[in-house]
């Protein structure tokens, strides 16, 4: 007999509230419904009542981890509307902070994945190594999150030669640690048992449901905005687009770990080839009427901002689509046919950022004779216990 379990909205594991109504038959998940909306803040409406300069800080706070990706997309959209050309040094510094942010986000994800599986040691060690990146970001921008580096016309702060040496010194231990974590992920037996074959998403389904980011690249879809629609300093860098043919959670883990190593390589290249010159140009306050589509690759996938201007200093419409929303249909598909114990790790494998998604989640439970309410923490403990007792 199938009955439905509502899970959420308050759960300590994920950073944001989410609500799932999971219909199960014994231990197997038959159907999932994900309802959104708890974090809806009305940012698109708020953006219409603020000037472009104030909107830079508003878009920065759409997400705490992808904050540089959102500001970069917004600023380069407005710069395209104004027809400005940003000096090369400014573009390099912008790309450097974007890549440092990608390193910090992927290390954070490795820790969260370890925590969801009950592997708290991995969580502690990756977050300790993440402190190296956070200190570098504080050195460059003045803040650990929500950096405030971008402005319309370039970046606000410059990098001194002393900072360059410190960044290069910081890359050295990060590279060693990333190789070490890649080794742990591919050889630790407990990790592999929980992630191999779990949350399968075949390539055709990933293309059909329009997944983006490491979720799609872990299923063999080669789509990366940094290569296909380049922006900022990416045309001057040489890097590889990492894909994996596995299609399960282990594939997505390996993609993120290898992307860490690519990002470290890119940061080194950016510091060594940093050109001289100005970092910003002066920008007018009023923008002539027009429209622009601006895209970027955040740590979680493709971000798009659509801006329409009407001649004043406020945008007529700002539309933001963050990557987690594009991955929802894919994660709902990959949960079906799995066990209840796999729900935490499969949901965490798309690296959800619900405050990026701007959606509200309300879960309705279908009426049935038996109803069981589980909080996320209970579900996580359930998963760890179930696999521990399996043999």
């Amino acid at each position: 007999m199938a009955y439905t379990i509502p899970i959420g909205p308050q759960h300590p594991a994920l950073k944001e509230p989410a609500n799932l109504a999971v219909t199960v038959d014994g231990e197997t998940v038959v159907d999932v419904d994900l309802r959104l909306g708890y974090n809806h803040r009305g940012m698109e409406k708020a953006a219409q009542q603020r000037s472009y300069i104030q909107n830079i800080y508003l878009t920065e706070r759409i997400c705490g981890i992808c904050s540089m990706a959102h500001t970069t997309t917004f600023c380069q959209g407005v710069e395209e509307l104004l027809g400005l050309e940003i000096p090369k040094r400014g573009l390099f510094i912008r790309t450097l902070v974007c890549e440092l942010e990608r390193i910090h986000s992927h290390l954070l994800w490795l820790g969260v994945a370890g925590h969801e599986l009950g592997f708290d040691t991995l969580f502690m060690y990756t977050w300790r190594d993440r402190e190296i990146v956070m200190d570098l970001l504080e050195l460059v921008s003045g803040n650990r999150v929500n950096y405030g580096m971008n402005t319309i016309g370039g970046v606000r702060r410059d990098i001194t030669d002393e900072m360059r040496t410190q960044i290069l010194e910081g890359m050295q231990p990060l590279e060693e640690r990333s190789h070490y974590y890649l080794g742990v992920a591919s050889s630790e037996a407990t990790f592999l048992r929980r992630t191999e074959g779990v949350g399968m998403l075949p390539k055709e389904k990933a293309i059909e449901l329009c997944a983006v980011g490491p979720t799609a690249r872990g299923s063999g879809v080669e789509y990366d905005v940094r290569r296909d629609d380049p922006l900022a300093a990416y045309p001057y860098l040489d890097f590889e687009v990492i894909t994996s043919d596995r299609g399960d959670v282990l594939g997505r883990t390996v993609v993120r770990a290898l992307e860490l190593i690519q990002s470290i390589k890119m940061c080194r290249q950016l510091i060594e080839e940093l050109p001289e010159g100005e970092v910003r140009v002066k920008a007018p306050r009023k923008v002539a009427p027009g429209e622009v589509v601006s895209k970027n690759e955040a740590p979680r996938g493709e971000v798009i901002h659509y801006i329409r201007s009407n001649g004043t200093d406020r945008p007529a419409r700002l539309k933001v689509r963050a990557p987690t929303m594009a991955n929802f249909p894919a994660v709902l598909y990959s949960l079906k046919g799995g066990y209840i114990a796999d729900i935490p790790i499969v949901l965490a494998a798309i690296d959800p950022c619900f405050s990026c998604t701007d959606r509200v989640m309300i879960v309705d439970s279908k009426h049935s004779k038996r109803k069981q309410v589980m909080s996320w923490e209970e579900l996580r403990q359930y998963g760890i216990r179930w696999y521990g007792e399996k043999d």
Partner: protein
Amino acid sequence: MPVESEIQGKLEEAFGKLGFEIDVPREHRLFVRIPAAQLKEVVEYLKRSLDMTHITTITAIDVGDDIEVLYHFFCQGVAITLKTSVPKADPVVDTITPIIPGAVLYEREIQDLLGLKVKDHPDPRRLVLPEDWEEGVYPLRQDYEIKEE
């Protein structure tokens, strides 16, 4: 010949007699204005002949008497945007989920926030707003004002 001009040529050949306006502002971008009745046909053509499989998002803008709906696709390295317009008095568009299943959440969002009606949508529930929100009040329309406290 660059990809954008190739795509422009093919679209003009297939739909030129209907008077589409095509605009190529820079590389990797293409904007096409089409009448709302032709929407499904053009999306079908993009998928079949131009190998398009990825929809990025759907935007809807309130411009006074009409609501403009923009569909952003990604195809062969170019971000193609289809622009259509429906009158505010009768804001109905066709669903494209039979052709592109990934568009289901974006259509639910424009239904919720701007009051567009998407014909034959497989799952027309609210996405963003809470369940007890008033019917007929659409936050992203121009006439909805945020009151300062």
